[in-house]
């Protein structure tokens, strides 16, 4: 099984592949957006500008379907960034995975990578470190995104909708308070874990198919078909999950800033 390359900074463990893949995803999203809006035109938009305008319209309509557009206008940027980031992140892990075997315990700018693994392993090259994968196939990335959204949702509720926000915890009777707390916690957990689970499971299954396919020539040829099918399905799942994460964000925001409950 592939292991994550871990490094320790300031006494905190970091998943190095996450750091790399998050950076790459951000760069890809930024490049797509910047290249697409390089030659902006009011009356004669190019292909990429049309596509990005379609994204904006799509998010605009998504927000308009959950809340009043007067309040929703300020969340368009959040929605665009979320859907583009998650979509690109989901897609990055699909075409290939990159796992490296080192003959010696590797280091990252002088910081040893996964020293425990290499200390345990009989040979350094037995350790397989997975460097290229979807960042959304790690819990840190998805829970990070979920944390951003949930903190924002509650912050908006407290600042913009104070009375209703606190009142809805004891709605309709104070006995419901624990249920509301459970709901809030599960909102946070499901938002992050749903995305993580879908993408991680997809990558694990691709790994399993590849492992099976590497058993022999016949298995390799036979493994092509489920691999193609599963990758196509992963594209679908990745797209759906990006959409679901974004629209749930908008739904949670609209719930917390709704004036009447």
């Amino acid at each position: 099984m592939h292991e994550s390359p871990m490094i320790e900074l300031f006494g905190i463990p970091f998943d190095l592949s996450n750091l790399i893949m998050i950076t790459i995803t951000c760069l890809v999203v930024f490049l797509i957006a910047v290249l697409g809006t390089r030659r902006l035109s009011v009356d004669n938009p190019g292909k990429m500008q049309n596509f990005l305008e379609w994204v904006v319209e799509f998010i605009h309509n998504m927000i308009a379907s959950t809340m009043d557009m007067k309040q929703g206008k300020s969340f368009i940027m959040l929605g665009i960034t979320l859907i583009m980031y998650i979509f690109v992140a989901n897609m990055l892990g699909l075409p290939f995975a990159l796992s490296l075997h080192f003959y010696e315990a590797p280091t990252f700018f002088g910081i040893p990578i996964s020293p425990d693994l290499y200390a345990e392993a009989a040979h350094a090259k037995d350790v397989s470190l997975l460097f290229w994968k979807s960042p959304t196939a790690s819990m840190s990335a998805t829970m990070g995104l979920a944390l951003i959204v949930i903190v924002m949702v509650h912050y908006l509720g407290v600042t913009r909708n104070t009375k209703n926000y606190f009142k809805h915890y004891i709605d309709p009777v104070p006995a419901f308070f624990p249920l509301h707390i459970i709901e809030k916690v599960s909102q946070f957990l499901t938002l992050g874990l749903r995305l993580f689970g879908n993408i991680y499971a997809g990558e694990v299954l691709i790994g399993v198919i590849l492992m099976t396919a590497s058993a022999g020539v016949l298995a390799g040829i036979g493994g092509m078909i489920p691999l193609i099918v599963w990758q196509a399905f992963s594209i679908f799942v990745g797209t759906i999950q990006a959409f679901v994460f974004t629209i749930l964000t908008m739904v949670y925001i609209s719930q917390s800033i709704a004036k009447d409950h």
Partner: protein, 160 residues
């Protein structure tokens, strides 16, 4: 698989990405979309105004066209009347001139005729006197006298 420090990196990276996208890509893009919306609204407003203007102009044109047509009709009618009158006048003039010319010609003929008669009368008188004097000059017999008269008469007749 658990949560590690990259969650902090993810949050920071996402924040930076959000800021960069809104500053360098989607901010300008959305302002362009807004501009286009304004542009379309403006165009629609202009088109509406232009159409109203065009309708007004068309009505004015139609009115002036009607007036012009009426005027043209009147002018043609007038011209017809004038031409008819002029034609009548010309015919009348021609008739009058022709009648006068005929009258003049008749008068001239009469004059010439009376002048010729007068001349003839004067010559016949002179000749008669000449004949008479010749007869008186020659006292002739009746036969030669007759011959003489015939002769002179013949002379006179040749002269005439």
């Amino acid at each position: 698989m658990s949560i590690d420090g990259s969650i902090v990196f993810q949050i920071i990276a996402f924040g930076i990405l959000l800021w960069l996208l809104s500053k360098y890509a989607f901010g300008p893009l959305m302002s362009v979309m807004e501009k286009r919306k304004e542009h379309v609204l403006e165009e629609m407003r202009t088109a509406e105004t232009n159409r109203a203007e065009a309708d007004k102009l068309l009505k004015e044109q139609e009115a002036s066209m009607q007036q012009t047509r009426q005027e043209a009709y009147q002018i043609i009618e007038q011209a017809k009347q004038t031409s008819a009158r002029q034609a009548d006048e010309i015919v009348e003039d021609a008739k009058a001139t022709a009648a006068k010319l005929k009258e003049d010609a008749l008068k001239d003929i009469e004059n010439e005729k009376s002048k010729a008669a007068q001349t003839l009368r004067a010559q016949v008188g002179a000749m008669s006197i000449m004949i008479a004097s010749k007869i008186i000059e020659q006292k002739l017999d009746e036969k030669s006298q007759q011959q003489l008269v015939d002769k002179y008469l013949k002379e006179v007749g040749g002269k005439l």
